[in-house]
């Protein structure tokens, strides 16, 4: 099965290793991974800040790129970018042809763990020694319904002890431009979550969203915490060449 990997701009520019880990996992699930080097951003920051008109041309690029690829699924190591692609049809209220194309792409778009489980992955290939807690990214959880898949996969990583956090599904406070529009509030929301994370004594806080990780990792570092924030793909594919 051919799969188009949508790495997202954050992974592309800041943490490309997450993208490589995602590709490794997809290959492990028996997929041929295609990557279109022309991809940029899904347009989410524009939609969320009140400028959906600016997002539409970016959405068209993602749609056209996927159609060109000939892949059967579009997979992103991000619940929030995948959810944004699911919302594309709403951007084309006045363009029925594009709306239809957007709808076709949306049904083929998946968050990474969601796709891996659907492909039948029952054991993650990685080995990881440590106690790992999970942070549900809001859009993956609530827009795409990704709840069990990452937990199920994490529990199968050799050497890993999975810790269910009480505040696992509490928002981290990132919220896109919210993080810089209301920085003190954004950080206070993160602290609500991280107080539990630090008290639990886990080694790693894992998440399926690089954007949540930007915020959580930044805050953990500033708090002087020993807990590392890692992407799900990095944990699941840890130690796999």
């Amino acid at each position: 099965m051919k799969v188009a990997l949508y790495v997202t701009c954050v992974v592309d520019q800041c943490w490309p290793d997450i993208g490589l880990a995602a590709a490794t996992l997809l290959e492990h699930a028996g997929c041929t991974v295609l990557f279109d080097g022309e991809q940029t951003c899904c347009g989410q920051p524009f939609c969320n800040s009140g400028y959906p008109a600016s997002a539409a041309p970016l959405a068209k690029r993602v749609i056209a790129s996927y159609e060109r690829s000939g892949a059967e699924a579009l997979v992103a190591p991000s619940g929030s970018c995948a959810a944004q692609i699911h919302h594309y049809p709403a951007l084309f209220a006045g363009e029925p042809a594009w709306r239809q194309r957007a709808e076709r792409v949306a049904v083929h778009t998946f968050e990474l763990s969601q796709f891996l489980v659907r492909r039948g992955m029952t054991r993650a290939p990685g080995r990881f020694a440590g106690r790992v807690g999970w942070h549900d990214g809001c859009h993956g959880l609530r827009d795409l319904g990704v709840r069990d898949e990452p937990r199920r996969l994490l529990r199968t990583v050799q050497g890993l002890e999975f810790v269910e956090l009480r505040a696992a599904d509490a928002c981290c406070g990132f919220g896109g431009t919210f993080a810089v529009k209301l920085p003190e509030l954004s950080v206070a929301i993160a602290d609500h979550k991280l107080d539990e994370v630090d008290a639990t004594g886990i080694d790693v806080l894992a998440s399926g969203d690089a954007s949540c990780l930007l915020h959580l990792r930044g805050r953990l570092e500033r708090r002087g915490s020993k807990v590392r924030a890692l992407h799900l793909a990095e944990v699941l594919a840890h130690g796999v060449a």
């Binding site: 009140g50 400028y51 609530r142 919220g175 810089v180």
Partner: protein, 473 residues
């Protein structure tokens, strides 16, 4: 007179609220309790999703035919001796109520908890006219004594600790300074009973208005609403036009949803179904019943398909309890009678949008509000719609609060992202200019990010380069 904080200054209000540790502690504890209770009642109900979609379907139907059901309500209410008044806005509503109170010759009104009366600032209007208005819901009375507006739409004094209330009562009511909750409640009861006995008019809102029978349904736990609507000679109810439901039978599903969502109760202690004044002199109940139907911006929400669902809200407050923003800053920071996620949706549609322009941005868009909403209002979707109206405007109206600099920056960024070559060039340039990082770190948005978080670095090589290397191998 209790004043709201300026809603234009949400960011400053929020910062101030974050400094108030006592308030944050009380708020977190209470919101957690209510949130947990709601979760438990929902988890124990396999039919929950079915109830939600049924209730929403009833609301959608009613809103699509609101003109019909409002007139039907009026007809049935009149037939049962209730007098019905129509108020276009807050000024008309307070004018009508004031006229009725004066006509009744009352100088004291007892009030049931009602957000709609808060919305039109009825207490202020009555006070200006020399009429005493006493809140009789315990939380609402606490807020009135403290000179504060409600902090939460269901639990007005959710942010106050027992010790704070004891100190307030010691000052205003004369109870011992360390009285416990039971003693404080007893003191409130004694004071308020005297007011009930003397009041000429009782003023309430309503949870639902039934078109089929011209009845009002009001839920409560303290019994004060039953007293307010039955002891004084005159009962006036101020009711938003969205509160109407077609049939008595429709209450079934809403009576299941509202208490469970609001307080986590299976049912509230009291449910009063009020249908007109007393029929015979020996009966219980008021001599006169007036219903004031309030528009105040609601028909504007009704007119647009996107915003119509804002009117489905049954004011349960569940979205406040689960909201990460509300949990941190509480109700007053919003500067509106309706705080929290639903407040950030409703307020900008009730007041001029430019005044409330900050509120749609007071959300991380986490969607917890949409999940918990008993009538499945897509609050994040509405927030995005309002953000667009604030920044870019709509075909009907120009942007309410455009930010030219931000708009320019966003357009530039969108243009840059439209071309993969320019995107790669820009990222490459940024890598090459890493030595300039100390400068960027002092400029927005990074300067604002750095307040509390370390700044992520660009990777030495982007994904596409690593991918090419990997493919070659």
């Amino acid at each position: 007179m209790a004043e709201h904080l300026p809603m234009q200054q949400f960011p400053a209000n929020a910062r101030a609220a974050l400094q108030n540790d006592t308030q944050r502690g009380a708020l977190r504890a209470a919101a957690t309790v209510f949130g947990e209770r709601q979760k438990k009642t929902v988890a124990g109900n396999p039919d929950w999703q079915h109830w939600r979609s049924t209730a929403r379907a009833v609301k959608d139907h009613t809103l699509l035919h609101l003109d019909h059901y409002l007139v039907a309500f009026e007809r049935q209410a009149l037939a049962r001796g209730t007098r019905v008044h129509w108020a276009r806005d807050a000024a008309e509503a307070t004018g009508i109520v004031l006229g009725l109170v004066r006509a009744a010759g009352a100088t004291l009104c007892v009030k049931a908890k009602s957000m709609t009366t808060e919305e039109v600032r009825l207490n202020e209007a009555l006070e200006h006219a020399g009429i005493e208005a006493v809140e009789t819901d315990l939380g609402e009375w606490i807020q009135q004594l403290a000179g504060e507006v409600p902090f939460h739409i269901v639990v007005p004094a959710i942010h106050k600790t027992e010790a704070q209330i004891a100190a307030l009562f010691a000052d205003k009511v004369g109870t011992p300074p360390h009285a416990d909750a039971a003693a404080l409640t007893a003191a409130a009861r004694e004071r308020l009973r005297q007011k009930f006995a003397r009041a000429g008019v009782g003023i309430s809102g309503a949870n639902f208005a039934i078109a089929e029978t011209g009845s009002l349904l009001i839920l409560e736990n303290e019994g004060n609403i039953r007293l307010t609507t039955s002891v004084p000679r005159v009962h006036i109810a101020l009711v938003g036009i969205e509160k109407v439901l077609p049939r008595l039978a429709d209450l079934d599903v809403f009576l299941r949803l509202l208490p469970r969502s609001g307080t986590g109760q299976t049912l509230t202690t009291y449910q009063s179904l009020l249908t007109g004044p007393k029929a015979r002199p020996g009966d219980e109940g008021p001599d006169e019943v007036h219903v004031v139907l309030l528009d105040n911006g609601r028909s504007r929400m009704l007119a647009e398909e996107v915003t119509r669902q804002s009117l489905a809200c049954i004011r349960c407050g569940a979205c406040l309890n689960v909201c990460p923003v509300y949990q941190q800053v509480g109700g007053h920071a919003y500067g509106s009678v309706y705080p929290g996620p639903i407040g950030a949706v409703v307020t900008p549609q009730l007041v001029p949008l430019a005044r409330a322009a900050q509120l749609p941005f007071a959300s991380t868009l986490c969607g917890a509000c949409r999940d918990v909403c008993p009538v499945a209002i897509d609050i994040p979707r509405l927030l995005l719609h309002l953000r667009q109206r604030v920044r870019e405007g709509s075909p009907q109206a120009p942007a309410a609060a455009p930010q030219r600099g931000e708009r320019l920056a966003m357009r530039l960024l969108a243009w840059l992202l439209r071309s993969p070559r320019i995107y790669r060039f820009a990222a490459g340039t940024a890598r090459w200019c890493r030595w300039l990082e100390p400068v960027w770190h002092h400029l927005p948005p990074l300067s604002r990010w750095r307040a509390g978080r370390s700044v992520p670095c660009l990777a030495p090589r982007d994904f596409r380069r690593l991918w090419r290397q990997r493919s070659r191998r």
